[in-house]
Structures are given as C-alpha cells and as structure tokens.
Symmetry: C2
Subunit: 226 residues, 2 copies
Amino acid sequence: MSEVRVIQIHESVFAQNDRTAESIRERLKKQGTLFLNVMSSPGSGKTTTLVALINRLKDRLRIGEMDVDIESSLDAQRVADLTGIPALQIHNGGLCHIDADMTARALLEYDTEGLDLLILENIGNLVCPAEFDTGAHRNVTILSVPEGDDKPLKYPLMYQVSDVVLINKIDTADYFDFSLEKARQRILNLNPKALIFPISARTGEGLEAVCEWILQEAERLRDSEG
Amino acid sequence: MSEVRVIQIHESVFAQNDRTAESIRERLKKQGTLFLNVMSSPGSGKTTTLVALINRLKDRLRIGEMDVDIESSLDAQRVADLTGIPALQIHNGGLCHIDADMTARALLEYDTEGLDLLILENIGNLVCPAEFDTGAHRNVTILSVPEGDDKPLKYPLMYQVSDVVLINKIDTADYFDFSLEKARQRILNLNPKALIFPISARTGEGLEAVCEWILQEAERLRDSEG
C-alpha cells in the first residue's frame, strides 16, 4: 500500500505568513521603527483618528503611513494632505485583508529607514485582517460608538489579536445605545491584557493618552534594540 | 513539447457558485418566496432595521429570516425574540461571506415552503459578501450615516451589486459630517438603477417606503410565476 501524501494548504499559508511577519518585525525593530497595524470596521474613523494622532505626534516622531484599500486612494491622500507626512496607498485588488507578503512588497516601495513610527491603516473589515499577522509590533483596533457595544461578541478574533482598542466617537455616546462598561468587559473577557482608550477623533478627547502610549512603545522598542 | 494544462480555479469557483445561486433563485421563485440578501458594515443597524421591517410586514407576509455570523447567535436570537418569526442562525466558521452553496445547505435545514419573504442577514462586511451571489432575488445594502458618505467610493462593488441602498441612522445626520446628496450621487454613479431609501430604524422614519417596495417585489415575483 502506498503512502498518501497530505498537504495542509491552510496551515502552510499561515505558517509562511508568520515567518514573513517575523522578518518584517525584526527588521523594523533593528532600525528602531515601531510598526502599528490599525484595523476596524468601515466608517469607524480610522483615517480621522490617524490624522489627529499624527498631527499631535509629528514634531516628536518621524512618522510614515501606509494605507490599504481595494482600489481607491482617498485615505492616503487625506493623510498626506492633512498631516504633511509621506503616505503610501496600497491597492489590494479586492481582497479583504493585507498579509505579511503584501506588507513586505509595500516595504520595498516605501522607504522606512529613519522612521520612528510606521502606521499601517488596514482595510475596513472586522474579519479577515484579524487572521493575518502583518509583521506589526502592535495591533490596534477601533470600535466606534455607533457600531454598538456587541461587536466584541460578534468579531471575537479581532479583539483577541489587538493590543489596544480605541473606542471612538465617544462624544456621541449619549445619542446611541452604547455602554462603555459593557464594551470594556466584553473586550477584557476576550483579551485581559487589552488597553482600552475611549476617544473622540473629532473633539480630541482622549487622544493625548493614546499619544503617550505610542511614545512609550516607541521608546521601549528603541531601548530593547539599543 | 507537451501541452501545459491550465486550471482557472478562481473562475470555476465563481461559475459553480453562480449556477447554484441560479438554482436557489429559481426554486424560491417557483414557490413564491421573495429572497432578499441584506448586507452592510458591522454596526450599520442591519438587525435593528430587519426587526423593524419584519414587525411592520408580518401581518401581511409570511416571513422567514436566516442570519450569518462567525460564531455568535445573537442576531437570529434578537430577530426571533423581537418579531416572533422563526429565525435560523448560520455560523460560517470565520469566513467573511456566505456563498450559494452555504445558502443551499442552510435551505436544507430551514423550511421555506409557504413563505412570502425570506431574508438573509449577511455577515457584517463590505468586501466579501459583494463577491458571492447567494441566490437572492434582490440585494440590499445598508449604509449608516456615522460611517460617512465616502463608503461608495471605497467599496464600489457592494453598491454595484445592490438593487436597494438603505441610508440608515438618518436621524443622526445633523450630528455627523454626512451629505445625503453626495452619498446619493456616488451610489448612482456606480449603479444608476439603485433605489435609495433614507431611513431611521430607531425612529421609524422612511420604513413605510421600504415596506411598500418589499410588498411590490413580492407581488411581482408571484405574478411572474403565476
């Protein structure tokens, strides 16, 4: 009886992705560049939040931004226009995520040498981006108040893989049926170490605390390498 | 020189899906069941909207509902609790869409004979669900005001495949930087035949017009078969 060969396509895809992700993480760590991967639903305010954070941080850190969308270049243009930093738009051709290989290809086109902070604005989606390690040092997800406090129950993996959750549009909390306490408990049940920051990218509420966290992470990365 | 065999995996997946979808559409048409596929971002108010529509229609139509989520059963439970109609929860195991085969399997478990209207609440996602024909007679997408009027620019396929766009949470329009006119133009540029209904699932604004459209579609389906 001859042996049957079994190929685990699914596993090998993820295993290869994880190796590439680890190489990206190492290379960026060596050059002292903190790499943040920012994920969320469409319309939760990723770009607005990033613009607000970059403008608060750009005198203290050298920042680069890469933006993933299916076919439009609106977000990278908005970041470049509103912050003055160089932004790269990645078109992923209709996929619902970006993986480590795609990130590696983008890094060939985008010079990150000398950056203290590299931000990846992932595609608006709560499912696929959570499945692929992009090589970021930290994952951040944004949950906006109008989306509801049940999102951690419905998209658990996103919250399990995220180190930080920004609860955005907190200035609209009175208007929507959203319990910050319930959201917090549901996130912590999935991920007890998650840092949770209520913010409003529009009013600026809570953003200084997020900037402080980013500055500390950047410093920690440099120290660990130095 | 031997010939190289080329297999178009991508095309054949979609071709097979389209055939299954067509069979579903035909079978449901024959039995006089209008099948609506409802798509949107997470948190745009799909379940709330469906509950409100079903409660307005359930004395006039026999309605069934199937709900797709990764692993939770919150939405089907909410629909069943708040409307009293039978609802089926489909767990798709982490995928970001439901295709025609999955719908066909669900229809084996869920008795639709005698229903006038079958609603599929697709997974919250603006990318993948747009790519797979589920066998529905009509596609509906919900865009909620807090998500922003730029979503048609960023997720064009969703709007190209949708017959109807519900612009939800319209009662919050003053609070967000959302232009109904811009959203409408952007949708119509992608899909000149799209019907657009501004609604508020919370206040009830605009829902009667949507009910009227559903009633007319159900009647048209029965007439075409009769």
